[in-house]
């Protein structure tokens, strides 16, 4: 890792040190941060955070930062990174494919294992990142556990949600284009790019990921899992309930936490700070410790 520096973070409630810098994945330079635990409880495992996409990355970034520090502060080495075309990493998002995101997740896991000397990975994935982490797990044999923060179950639905948010914003401003979600998807197909709120959807990612399905990607997964549903509804959604039943049916242990404080996933946090949920931070840390 180039230009690594050691720092302390007082607001993490627990002290940890961070090594920040760039590491390679294919020809890209990916920004990554390794959070060094003061004392190791991770038992040969490192926590790797797999981020969300587009505006949702912006919305959830602070939570990942705080969670990685909290994990390290309580004894688990943790690593967070930006995929190519995201955050501080290099790369153009317009030719980014789902395979590229999975490659980056694998490169991040390899790097995290190398710096922590761990042999297994605990994945903590957010929204679209859940699909990426699930695909990465399928490629490797070092997945020890998986936390899913408000998982996207079908990639296609992620794109549709982003488009619905764009159309809603237009209405809120008194503009009504008359376009439907299907019209916008057709435009994405035809032009290869579609502006949405504060960002773009790109044809390369749409084409390469639209059929991705979390249940299928985790078809053989039966290790420790946390499903953190972040929705206003009081019970598990059908998708989350099905995933829980399937993994438990294979003998996997699944913990569930329901977080009612839902951010506006597809909206830029303009008048509000970035989303922080102490409840989710606590639930994730407790889940990590529950595995010890």
């Amino acid at each position: 890792m180039s230009q690594a520096v050691l720092i302390s973070n007082r607001d993490a409630a627990d002290l940890c040190q961070e090594q920040r810098g760039y590491f390679p994945s294919a020809s890209a330079a990916l920004y990554g941060v390794y959070c060094v635990p003061q004392k190791y409880l991770g038992r040969d495992r490192v926590v790797v955070f797999c981020h969300a996409s587009g505006i949702e990355h912006m919305v959830t970034q602070r939570m990942q930062v705080l969670a990685s520090r909290k994990a390290a502060g309580t004894g688990f080495p943790a690593f967070r990174y930006d995929s190519r075309g995201h955050g501080d990493s290099t790369g153009d998002p317009n030719d980014l494919t789902f395979e590229d995101l999975v490659d980056d997740a694998c490169a991040a896991a390899d790097h995290a294992k190398a710096v922590s000397r761990a042999s297994e990975v605990i994945w903590v994935a957010v929204r679209f990142g859940c699909l990426v982490a699930a695909a990465a797990i399928g490629r490797r044999n070092d997945g020890a556990a998986l936390a899913l923060w408000e998982p996207v179950h079908q990639a296609r639905e992620y794109f549709r949600t982003a488009i619905r948010t764009k159309l809603f914003c237009e209405v809120a401003q008194g503009r009504r284009s008359g376009a439907t979600v299907e019209d916008c998807l057709s435009e994405l197909e035809a032009r290869g790019v579609l502006p949405v709120v504060g960002s773009y959807l790109y044809g390369a990612l749409w084409h390469s990921s639209r059929d991705a399905d979390l249940g299928s990607l985790l078809a053989t997964w039966k290790r420790n899992t946390l499903i953190a549903q972040v929705q206003r509804r009081p019970g598990l959604s059908v998708n989350n309930q099905n995933l829980l039943s399937t993994i438990e049916g294979r003998g996997g242990e699944v913990a569930v936490t329901l977080i009612g404080q839902e951010p506006s996933w597809g909206m830029l946090p303009v008048v509000r700070p970035q989303w922080v949920s102490q409840e989710l931070l606590t639930a994730t840390t407790e889940w990590l410790h529950g595995m010890e």
């Binding site: 330079a29 970034q61 008194g174 502006p195 700070p273």
Partner: protein
């Protein structure tokens, strides 16, 4: 502008250095991009303000690497409570810029990287943050780009735009959702306007009192300094309607030398809504082009004044 990453920008990315900036709110995390060795250095450090340092389509990342490949040192960082920085940010208000964070960044770049001359830029609140630094660091700030800032102390429209024909038509013809949102906004704004009527400021009529005291203070600091400034506005933005109060009062009182350092560029349509990423790209393209030009070309009176209908720029960038 080429929004694809160029080899020169990729090279700058590989040379970037994470930095930790001490501040009153704790440690602020940022990325320093050194200038390319193969071009002549400008001797200027550009600080690109945004909430977290790649907020909204990573425009600060692109800008930093583009400017660094043209000889600028660049810094982008997270405000306290954002991104990787310490601290807690409990609320955001358009009239309360992150001045302490910005000052900490300038002072840290001076101390840690021996930077002496700065240009600052930001959009909306971040532009106000850039402007607010001049009061403290005016001698070292070469230029500021302040895009579509809020200049009132309350959200919503200025008095002469509270009810307009277009708004009435949009309300009547708009869908139910729009009507609900509009009515909620209207109730909130009634309270704001009531506060404005009750506020007393010596020597100011109701029109001028709409301009926030904070903005006036920062604007006066700009006038006293030697800093050049670009205000970028969208003709149909509520922020520009409010800025017209500044044009009628504060700008109108400046002498020729003072006025020559301040450029107001008004684009057709709106630039403020953040749901239009194409417009945001055009704004950042114009911002970094102006910074680059500003540093390379000597200042003269003819560079100033108003530029309207920047259609060649407004139409020049796309995804």
């Amino acid at each position: 502008m080429d929004w694809n990453e160029t080899p020169a920008e990729l090279a700058r990315a590989w040379s970037e250095q994470p930095v930790i900036i001490p501040s009153q709110s704790g440690e602020l995390h940022g990325i320093f991009t050194p200038p390319a060795a193969e071009v002549s250095p400008t001797g200027i450090c550009a600080i690109l303000f945004s909430r977290n340092r790649w907020w909204c389509d990573r425009l600060s990342v692109k800008a930093a690497r583009w400017l660094a490949s043209r000889g600028f040192s660049c810094l982008r960082f997270d405000y306290h409570g954002f991104g990787e920085s310490e601290g807690v940010c409990s609320e955001i208000h358009g009239d309360r810029p992150f001045t302490e964070d910005g000052l900490a960044a300038v002072q840290w770049m001076r101390k840690a990287f021996a930077q002496r001359r700065f240009v600052l830029s930001g959009f909306c609140l971040d532009g106000r943050t850039a402007l607010s630094i001049i009061k403290h660091e005016g001698d070292t700030i070469e230029a500021v780009v302040c895009s579509s800032p809020e200049v009132t102390s309350y959200p919503g429209d200025v008095l002469n735009r509270v009810i307009t024909l277009e708004k009435t038509r949009a309300f009547l013809l708009g869908p139910v959702t729009f009507k609900k949102v509009t009515l909620q906004r209207a109730v909130r704004r009634c309270f704001n306007l009531l506060r404005l009527f009750l506020e007393k400021r010596a020597g100011e009529d109701l029109i001028e009192r709409q301009i926030s005291a904070n903005f006036k203070r920062d604007f006066q600091a700009l006038v006293r300094s030697k800093t050049r400034c670009l205000f970028l506005q969208g003709r149909d933005d509520p922020q520009y309607y409010a800025f017209q109060l500044v044009e009628r009062t504060l700008l109108a009182r400046l002498n020729a030398e003072q006025r020559a350092r301040i450029t107001v560029e008004v684009w057709p349509g709106r630039i403020h809504p953040l749901d239009n990423p194409g417009t945001l790209r055009k704004v950042i393209a114009r911002t970094i082009a102006w910074i680059d030009d500003c540093v390379r070309s000597p200042h003269s009176v003819r560079h100033s004044q108003y530029t309207s209908a920047m259609t060649e720029i407004a139409g020049g960038a796309s995804a």
